[in-house]
Each structure stands twice: as C-alpha cells, then as structure tokens.
C-alpha cells in the first residue's frame, strides 16, 4: 500500500468548499458558470463569477463509484452507451441528484466552454444550454497537427480579446482588468508549484504516486487563478520536499517506476495504485496531471499570452507532440515503462495511443495498453486488469532483474 500525503485532508476540505461556493453564489449575489477544464477561468475570476466544473463532478462521482448508476440514468433517457461517461454522469445527476455524492450541481447562469480538450464538450454544453435555457459562450481553438499556424493563433487571440465584453454582457458588471491580471499571475504561480510537485518524483524513491497527483490536481483544475490554490500547492510542495529530504518514498522498497497515460480510472484509483505498490511498483507520473503545468508566459499582453497557453493544451496537440512529452517525462522521471489507459470515454486521448506505444516499444520501452473507462465502473474488468498488470510486472522483472525472483 502506498503512503498517503497529509495534504489530502486539506484538499478534500477545499474541494468541498469549492462545490459549496456554487450553491451559495446566488445568496451572495454572484453568478455561476459551468466551465470546461480547458476554458480560461481567469476571466471568470476577474468578474467574480463562481466556476463550477461538470468534468470535475464526473471525477468525484467516479471516485465514489456512482458513475455507473448515473450513466445508467442517462442511458434510460436515450443517451447511448458509447457516449463520454462524464457527460452521462452529469446528465444522470441532473435528473437523480441524490445519486451524486455531492448532491449534483447548482443551476448555472451561463456556460463557458472551450473545445481545446475535445469537441464532445461542445455538444455536451449545447445540451446544457437547452436544458437550463442559459447562454453558452464558446471558444473555438483549432487543433494543432504540427507547427502553430499564425492565423490560428490570431483567431484564438481574437476570441480571447472578445471575452471581457461578453462577460460584461452576461454578468452586468464592468470588466476588471486588474483582477484578471492578478488571476493570471496566481494561475502561473500555482502551475509552477504544481510542476515542482510533479518533478519531485524524479527522486528515487519517488515521494508521491500518480494516484496522489490525480487526487491533488483538483485545485489546479477548479481553483487555478486563486490565492487558495497557490497556498495549497505551496504546502503540498513543502510536504513533498520534506519527503525527498528524508529519502522517504511513497512505496516501500520501490522496484519499478511507471508512467501513466490518459485520465485515471477514477473508481479504481487507490486499489490500482496499491495493487502496484504491493509489488514494488510506483506510478511516478501521468501525462494528464502534467497537462496542468502549461501556463501563460509573463507578458505585457496578458490576454494574448493566456490565449496562446490555452491553445496549446495537451489534447489540442498532435500525436508527435504527445509522444515527445511522454518520452521527456519517461526520461526525467526515470521510468521503466508506460501504462496506457485506453479510455473508452475519451476518444481524442485514446485514439493514437497504440501508435505511440508501438514506437516506444520499438525503442525498448515496455508499454501496456489497458481498456477501461474513467468514470463508468461498468466498463472495468478487474480480473483482467490484475492479471495483465501482474504479467507486465513479471515482464519488467525478467527484463531488468533477469534470473532474480522476487
């Protein structure tokens, strides 16, 4: 079993307060916006809008193993079995909020969606707009197959420059450039600290696991641009630094170090991590948690720099870029192999993993592809996962410790 981080308790408390803020917003005279994880939330902070993340709610429901029930409710309404489970969880919680561990989400005043993480969110948010009869503010970020096209950069920047006016119209407030800049600075600061936490795992033994990172990423997703998030990551970085100083690993007798690609299997987060830890395997990093190290450069053109950063998020980039990051992470974290979670629900993340894995394998990097789903526990075959992971660890044993039995 992997050792837990003390910061987990504070993180839970923060996330609870975050969800409560959505429910309390109206009493405080504040607007609520549903936001996709890749949307520039700093603009909302500038206008004192409370951001609520349906994707994050999907993850919370996944961890609580409520995903299957909520997906089932959506399927009874006519949503297809093969649709993204976050979307279905959200729909299920709208009609059966009691099945959500946090009682569902408050009604939004408007929706703020960016298609830089996938195009599915556009359809999801269009449906939300019809359901709640609220306006949808959409940012269209062209997918980057190779080098950035100057016209694409200008197109995204143009849309970002338009956001203050749109938000003023939606909230009835005056645009606050000072608060926006402050929020951008706080986002950058939190992202730098988050990156420090992730990179600390290059130490041997690794002070934390990717499961820790998946749990601790809540604030960088939902609270970036706030002082609270910066404070949290400062404390987390301190705790991790102390572990490194003491030479303390998250896993006793660390034998192998693996990298994880894709969203986690939320409903199996700890069981899987502990299953591996019991075999001396530590998940030292994940491409998904690393995605939130992307940040706006310090620049006098605040809005343009933010636009450029959001346009180059992980899922908006081609496979060559993703492969390069995986190789870089594998090298800097000194991993012995990669687990690719072929996540049925996230097609843009998953379609192409086989090709990346094949190229890594041809360079001698052990890889395994595991089928699953981030939030719907009905799409998880526990026996098969355990058997295949055990075989993978044996393969690593044979490769790195030939002739030695554990």
């Amino acid at each position: 079993m992997a050792k837990r981080l003390a910061a987990a308790a504070r993180m839970k408390e923060m996330m609870l307060r975050h969800f409560q803020a959505g429910w309390l917003a109206r009493e405080e005279g504040r607007k609520v916006a549903f936001v996709t994880s890749g949307a520039p939330v700093e603009f909302l902070h500038a206008m004192d809008v409370v951001p609520v993340y349906p994707e994050n709610h999907g993850a919370v429901c996944g961890v609580a193993r409520a995903g299957g029930r909520l997906c089932q409710a959506a399927e009874e309404k006519g949503y297809s079995r093969d649709l993204c489970s976050y979307w279905k969880v959200d729909w299920g919680a709208r009609t059966t909020p009691a099945a959500s561990p946090i009682g569902g989400l408050p009604k939004p005043d408007f929706l703020f969606c960016a298609n830089n993480i996938c195009r599915t969110v556009v359809k999801w948010y269009e449906g939300l707009s019809r359901f709640y009869r609220v306006p949808l503010l959409l940012l269209d970020m062209p997918f980057r197959h190779g080098e950035e096209e100057p016209a694409a950069r200008e197109y995204v920047r143009e849309q970002f420059r338009n956001i203050p006016g749109e938000l003023a119209r939606l909230t009835g407030r005056t645009w606050d450039e000072g608060r926006f800049r402050e929020s951008v600075d706080l986002s950058r600061e939190a992202s730098v600290l988050w990156q420090e936490c992730i990179e600390a795992n290059s130490a041997r033994p690794a002070p934390a696991t990717a499961a820790d990172q998946f749990l601790m990423m809540g604030p960088i997703v939902t609270m970036r641009g706030t002082r609270e998030a910066v404070g949290f990551y400062r404390e987390l970085a301190d705790e991790i630094r102390e572990r490194v100083g003491r030479g303390e690993g998250a896993v006793e007798a660390e034998r192998f170090r693996l990298l994880w690609d894709n969203l986690p299997v939320w409903h199996q987060l700890r069981p899987l991590s502990d299953f591996l830890a019991d075999r001396g395997v530590v998940l030292v990093g994940a491409t998904y948690t690393n995605a939130w190290t992307e940040r706006a450069a310090k620049s006098p053109d605040g809005t343009d720099a933010v636009a450029d950063a959001y346009a180059r998020v992980w899922l908006n980039m081609g496979l060559a870029h993703r492969e390069e990051i995986i190789r870089r992470m594998a090298a800097s974290l000194a991993t012995d192999g990669v687990i690719f979670h072929a996540n049925r629900s996230c097609k843009p993340y998953s379609f192409g993993q086989e090709e990346i894995a094949a190229r890594l394998k041809s360079d001698g990097i052990p890889c395994i592809l595991m089928d699953g789903d981030m939030a719907d526990e009905r799409d998880f075959a526990e026996g098969s996962w355990r058997t295949r992971l055990e075989a993978f660890v044996e393969q690593l044993d044979n490769r790195f410790h030939p002739g030695r039995t554990r």
Binding site: R119, T120, P142, H145, Y155, E158, P348, E355
Partner: protein, 372 residues
C-alpha cells in the same frame, strides 16, 4: 441499348459499388491526380480547380474492413477509412485532405501519416461560424489549401479556374437539390437505394459527370403514382445499403434528409461573382446545421423538424453510427421534440463494418407499421 435514364442508374450504381475502380478509370483517362477527402468539409472546388479529382471516403467502399489496429471505440466510418488506407486499398489516391470534422477524424490523420508518405493537408476549419475572426482564419486556411493543391497537382489554382469550379459545383448542388425536391413532391419517385446510389456516385465522380447523371435520373418519366406506407425524413451521417433496402422493402419513401452523405454535403451554394476564396468562406460559414459544427442560435434541432415538416414526412428516422459522439448527444432532445410534435421517431444504430441486415429490417418494418 439502355435509355439515358437506365444508363445513368447503371453507371451510378457501378461507381457506388466500386468507387476505387472509377477513380482508377478517371485517372488513366485524364492522366491527372485524385485526392482522397475525409467527410465532408473539404473545399473541393479548390481541388477541382487544380485539376484533381476529389474523392470522399466513407469507410465502407470495400465492404467490411478488418478493424485490426483500430480501437473499438472508434466509429466505423473512421475505422473503415483508416483500415482501408493501411491495407493499401486506396492506391489510386495521390494525396489526402483531412478536414477537422470531429475529434476522431483529427486523430485518424495523426495515426495514419507517420506511415503514409503521400502529400496530405489537415484542413482545420472554424467549428464555430460566429466566432470573432472565423472568416479571416478560414480564408487563410483556404488560401493555404489552394497553394498546397497547386503544388501537389502541378497546376496553379488561378482565380479564373476557381471561379469556374465554383460554378461547376453549384450546378451539381442545384441538380441534387432538384432530386431532393422531386423526392418530396412525388414520394417514391426514387427509392432509397436509388437515392443512396446517386448520392454516393457523386463522391467519386467529377462533378460535371455526376450532374449529367442526376439530370438523366431526373428526366425519368413519372410512372404510376405510388402511395408509400410511410414518408420518412432521414437524418444521420449516412445510410447504408441494407438500411435503404429495408426501407424500400417496407414500402417507405424517403421524402427528405439531412444526411452528411446527402443534403449536408450537397446543400449550400457559393456566390459565383466576387472573390472565389471568399465565396468558399461564406458558403462554409453558412452551412446547414450539422452536429459537428457549433450553432450559436441553437437551431439544429428546430431546423431538422422544420425541414422534416417541409418535406411532408410523417416520421423521422435517425441513423446513428455507433461511437459517433457529435450525433449521439442530441438524440434524446430530438426524441423529446418529436414526441412534443407527435412525430414518430426512431434512432437506429448502425455499424458499417458489421452485417446488421436482419435487425435493421425488423426494426424498420416495425417503424413503418407505426401509426398506419
């Protein structure tokens, strides 16, 4: 000797059955190049003006494809296209155009092209027509595409050539629109199978020839009026042969459609005067609502029912390609709207790589019987 009408159907049918052979034939006769396009937003006029043959792929041109190497969560359109290209079945294609229609097509481009060395162009277009800067961005992409097409074909795409191609494509769209009008005015004038054949033939033929075929087909003398058991408005990405055969066998007439392999591809004229690249930009940004495009007015579902009512349909059949997220997400709302309007609605799942003839037949027969 077959009449012009018979010849038109026979030829269209031959092209639909074996588009790769039609492409090879065209290439050997013309000595020019063919460009494979992923559905459905490539500005084909540019390829046409460069002297190339645009060929739109749907993933089922060679029968069920072996899904080897394609994950099960990939839709059968993209899965079929990737498998067929990898299997070397599209050898006659000289270059590729991949519009950014959906996440899966974008990734299909990524998985294919470290290994396929033919020239390719990822045509990334604005998914949101009303976004600030969308026109300027799209104009830039069309100009880049124009330059690429000129380089690949060896023939510069002049303003004059592009203007001419816009006219050729408009003629083709007008002819297709007449076909759709005739299907609405005289239900059963064309069977579902004939409609599919005519629509598909246009994906692998030069548009001039396809327009001729459509005109011949439209000249078919009106036979004894048919009184179909059901008048269907067909929605979805595409219809398959077995679905159309089942509709025909059940006595249903297709009176309207918003299929991607149908109205969504063929509708919308470009301005014939003025700057041709700008005309293409305007046409694209005024596209008929499609689940792969964001519509700030939220009119996709309303428009679907307006068109359905306008066509005289008495029910709506949506063919959902499994794993297609853009199409899937609107289905419950379409279903609710049809219930509100008292219009029978059926969503039928299809998979291009699976033989589902029997189940399609049973479900379509039951749907046609509804409300009889």
């Amino acid at each position: 000797m077959p009449s012009g009408v018979e010849w038109a159907f026979r030829f269209a049918s031959e092209v639909s059955r074996n588009p790769a052979a039609a492409v090879s034939r065209w290439k050997s006769l013309s000595g020019r190049k063919a460009a494979g396009c992923i559905p459905i937003y490539a500005p084909e006029e540019v390829l046409h003006a460069a002297g190339m043959l645009p060929v739109t792929l749907w993933g089922n041109e060679f029968g069920p494809a072996s899904p080897a190497g394609v994950p099960p969560f990939v839709c059968s359109v993209a899965g079929g296209i990737v498998s067929d290209i990898r299997a070397g079945k599209w050898e006659g294609i000289d270059a590729w155009v991949f519009p950014s229609t959906c996440d899966t097509f974008q990734n299909a481009f990524e998985v294919l092209f470290p290994y396929d060395e033919r020239p390719r162009f990822p045509f990334v277009f604005p998914a949101y027509a009303d976004a600030p800067g969308a026109s300027e961005y799209l104009l830039d992409r069309i100009e880049a595409f124009r330059e690429w097409a000129g380089r690949v074909s060896g023939r510069e795409v002049s303003e004059g050539a592009l203007e001419k191609s816009v006219r050729v494509y408009n003629e083709n769209r007008r002819a297709f629109s007449l076909l759709e009008e005739k299907m609405a005015e005289s239900p059963g004038a064309f069977s579902g199978t004939e409609f599919l054949t005519l629509a598909r033939a246009g994906m692998a033929l030069p548009k001039e020839g396809h327009t001729e075929i459509l005109r011949e087909a439209l000249a078919r003398p009106r036979g004894t009026p048919r009184y179909p058991r059901a008048k269907i408005f067909l929605s979805g990405i595409l219809a398959t042969g077995p679905v159309m055969e089942a509709l025909d066998a059940a006595g249903a007439a297709i009176v309207g459609n918003d299929l991607a392999l149908g109205n969504r591809y063929y509708s919308g004229l470009a301005h014939e005067s003025g700057d041709p690249p700008l005309s293409l930009v305007r046409r694209h940004l005024r596209r008929a609502p499609c689940p792969t495009l964001h519509d700030s007015e939220g009119t996709r579902i309303e428009r679907l029912f307006e068109r359905s009512v306008g066509s005289g349909a008495d029910r709506v059949l949506l063919l959902r390609v499994r794993q297609c997220e853009p199409e899937s997400g609107e289905i419950p709302d379409i279903s609710d709207e049809s219930r509100k309007r008292g219009i029978p609605f059926l969503c039928l799942d299809i998979d291009l790589q699976a033989e589902e003839r029997a189940s399609a037949k049973v479900r379509i027969e039951a749907f046609v019987e509804m409300g009889e």
